[in-house]
């Protein structure tokens, strides 16, 4: 027990005496959440649009007000001729032009239908599509209001997901994804590098020739990274809640427990990598390519799994991060409890046990 304490203290020294490591462990989560939250968003706010209102009557005005009332759009200019449409797009200052046909109100009243022409600048197809979606949905609401149809419980809120937009954009999704990435980074990558470093520096040779039990060496490395990963997770949750208003609808306790489980899984994965890697470089490469990239790209964090080609879908399903993201998302955003998440939890438990067993089997007690 005393040996464990002595070694754990040493591990903390290693971490806190290395400025670069400290930057990664504490600086990265903070920087990343700020980046993802503020800068990188798939939503579009304050997109410049021009409006060519050929009717300039009561209903057209009402529609225009409704469109401009949202944060999505900012009025750039009113156009007054067809030729101006092409010119305005060419300046690049405007992303969308809305053309309202003449006699808008009259057409609605008399024939019950009217036309609106939405032209989006699709040089960036994502933006173009998104803006058309926004405009269409606003128009739909407008139409419903005209028909006095009861609104379904759907609020166009700046921050919640678009109803028919499967890829779930917005900072609400970034927080669960970010937690997953950071935990994977700290627990798996840093641990594997730390263990491999001892091998590379020759420290391991000396430790093996002593009565030190390998299990103590491993646990002493695990404890600091466990604590730091936890602190990072809590940091992200706090920042998510107080800076971006991301709620935790479900049980906080369950969330923290599942985080602990994922951390354990990632730690055991990191240890397993270190038993195989001979140098820090190899450990780093394997962690980056084998863990971080799949976590960012193949876990449903940014790109929905359902949209991926089949082979990648398979990879995504094996990826522990995918399972964890579901758990965090569902607890935070949907308030799901263990009764709904027992499958995913079981998968993570299974993976953890598996990696621990593999690590024990592969840990070399000799050179």
């Amino acid at each position: 027990m005393k040996k464990l304490l002595v070694f754990t203290k040493k591990e903390f020294y290693h971490i806190f005496r290395d400025k670069k490591t400290l930057l990664i462990l504490f600086g990265m989560p903070i920087i990343q959440i700020l980046l993802f939250g503020f800068a990188i968003t798939n939503e579009i706010n304050n997109a410049n649009i021009s409006i060519y209102d050929k009717s300039k009557d009561f209903q057209s005005q009402k529609l225009i007000n409704k469109i401009l009332a949202t944060n999505y759009f900012k009025l750039h200019s009113y156009l007054s001729s067809d030729s101006e449409i092409e010119e305005t797009f060419k300046t690049g200052e405007v992303k969308q032009v809305i053309v309202i046909e003449p006699n808008f109100t009259e057409n609605l009243n008399k024939e019950g239908s009217a036309n609106i022409h939405i032209i989006s600048d699709a040089t960036d197809p994502n933006t173009g599509t998104t803006l058309i979606n926004y405009t269409s949905s606003i128009i739909r609401i407008f139409t419903n209001e005209l028909n006095n149809v009861a609104m379904p419980d759907f609020i166009i809120d700046n921050q919640m997901e678009m109803r028919y937009n499967k890829s779930l954009k917005g900072v609400y999704l970034f927080v669960p994804g970010l937690i997953t990435v950071i935990l994977m980074l700290v627990s798996a990558m840093m641990t594997s590098i730390s263990l491999t470093r001892e091998k590379e520096n020759g420290n391991m040779e000396l430790l093996l020739a002593s009565p030190m039990k390998p299990i103590i060496i491993i646990i002493s490395k695990v404890i600091p990274y466990l604590l730091i990963a936890y602190i990072d997770a809590i940091l992200i949750l706090i920042m998510g809640k107080f800076i971006f208003g991301v709620p935790i609808v479900g049980s906080l306790l369950l969330l923290l427990l599942e985080c602990a489980l994922f951390i354990m899984m990632a730690l055991s994965l990191g240890i397993f990598i270190s038993t195989k890697a001979k140098t820090q470089q190899v450990a780093l490469m394997v962690s980056l390519v084998g863990l971080m990239l799949p976590t960012i790209l193949l876990s449903g964090f940014i790109f929905p799994i359902e949209n991926m080609p089949l082979p990648l879908q398979v990879v995504a399903r094996i990826n522990p991060s995918s399972w964890f993201i579901i758990i965090v998302k569902d607890i935070m955003l949907k308030g799901a409890g263990l009764e709904l998440l027992w499958q995913e939890t079981l998968v993570l438990i299974g993976m953890t046990v598996g990696f621990i067993l593999l690590s024990i089997k592969n840990f070399k007690i000799r050179l």
Partner: protein, 304 residues
């Protein structure tokens, strides 16, 4: 009971033979030197004895314990200083020492008397990080950490490599001082002159043991007469001697050339030969062979 017993130990790496059957017995309290150049197999042998490598054949015992089967017990009673500095460079001197004391369930105070002559030299710098120490200080720290638990057998793998002659001498003085505690010391080195400071030595070259004996006995293995010849131009002298008919061997040794005759030595004949070759001033003196002379001789015999 011998403190180290090596029976027919063999080790190969992929297709290269690292150790041919090695047989060595080391007595308790001895300073035993494993003398040989790089690549001879010294590190491999030491790693087998410290239970870090499994031999392909043979058995080895440290204080009666089988290094393969009873490795856990072996690791309790040995001290080890690997060839490459293996302590933590981002921990201070004192932190490193405390760590190793902790590993062996002891404290610095408990065995301080043992390491005092060594540790006291670096103690003033105890808060300096190990990475910022000079080579000589690193050596002393590594030795202190290896001794902190009063091991029964101490293994040192090339502890003086790359170190200047003064520090080397000091290190060996420290080792000899440790003898009074009865610790067996097994040390490897490429420096032939250090062989003289051991009680017994084994010469090793390309995985083969060329001889196990006291330094004096090894010197005696050189069974020819030996002469030291000095001249102004060493290089030229060697060339002449190599062309001489009665030369068994001629090697430069610092300021003189060590010459061994093939058959009966005729000093007049040699003198005339050298004079003929325009050697102006030269001295010929009989000397007794040293370890290096024997090593070279044994190496050559082995090649033949």
């Amino acid at each position: 009971m011998s403190s180290i017993l090596i029976k027919d130990i063999e080790k190969s790496y992929s297709d290269c033979r690292s150790l041919e059957p090695v047989n060595i017995e080391v007595n308790e309290g001895e300073i035993f030197g494993l003398i040989g150049p790089d690549g001879a197999g010294k590190t491999t042998l030491i790693r087998i004895l410290t239970s870090l490598l499994i031999p392909d054949a043979g058995e080895a015992y440290v204080m009666g314990l089988d290094v393969v089967k009873e490795y856990k017990k072996v690791r309790q009673i040995i001290g080890y200083m690997p060839g490459k500095f293996a302590l933590y460079t981002d921990l201070s001197i004192k932190e490193n020492l405390d760590l190793f004391a902790g590993i062996f369930d002891t404290t610095i105070e408990e065995n301080y008397h043992l390491i005092a002559p060594i540790y006291s030299q670096i103690e003033p710098f105890k808060d300096r990080l190990a990475g910022n120490l000079s080579g000589g200080m690193k050596q002393k720290l590594a030795l202190s950490c290896a001794l902190i638990h009063k091991p029964e057998v101490l293994f040192l793998d090339e502890p003086t490599t790359g170190v200047d002659p003064v520090s080397r001498k000091e290190f060996w003085d420290m080792l000899r001082d440790l003898k009074k505690y009865g610790i067996t010391i097994f040390v490897s080195t490429p420096y032939m002159d250090e062989a003289k400071r051991c009680d017994r030595i084994a010469l090793i070259q390309e995985g083969k043991i060329l001889g196990v004996a006291t330094p004096k006995e090894i010197e005696d293995k050189f069974n020819k007469e030996l002469y030291a010849i000095k001249a102004d131009d060493m290089h030229l002298l060697i060339t002449h001697l190599r062309n001489y008919e009665n030369t068994h061997s001629a090697y430069p040794f610092g300021e003189s050339c060590h010459f061994a005759p093939k058959g009966k030595f005729d000093i007049e004949h040699l003198t005339n030969y050298l004079k003929e070759k325009c050697e102006k001033e030269f001295e010929i003196a009989k000397i007794s062979p040293g370890i290096e002379d024997s090593f070279i001789e044994l190496m050559v015999k082995e090649d033949e």
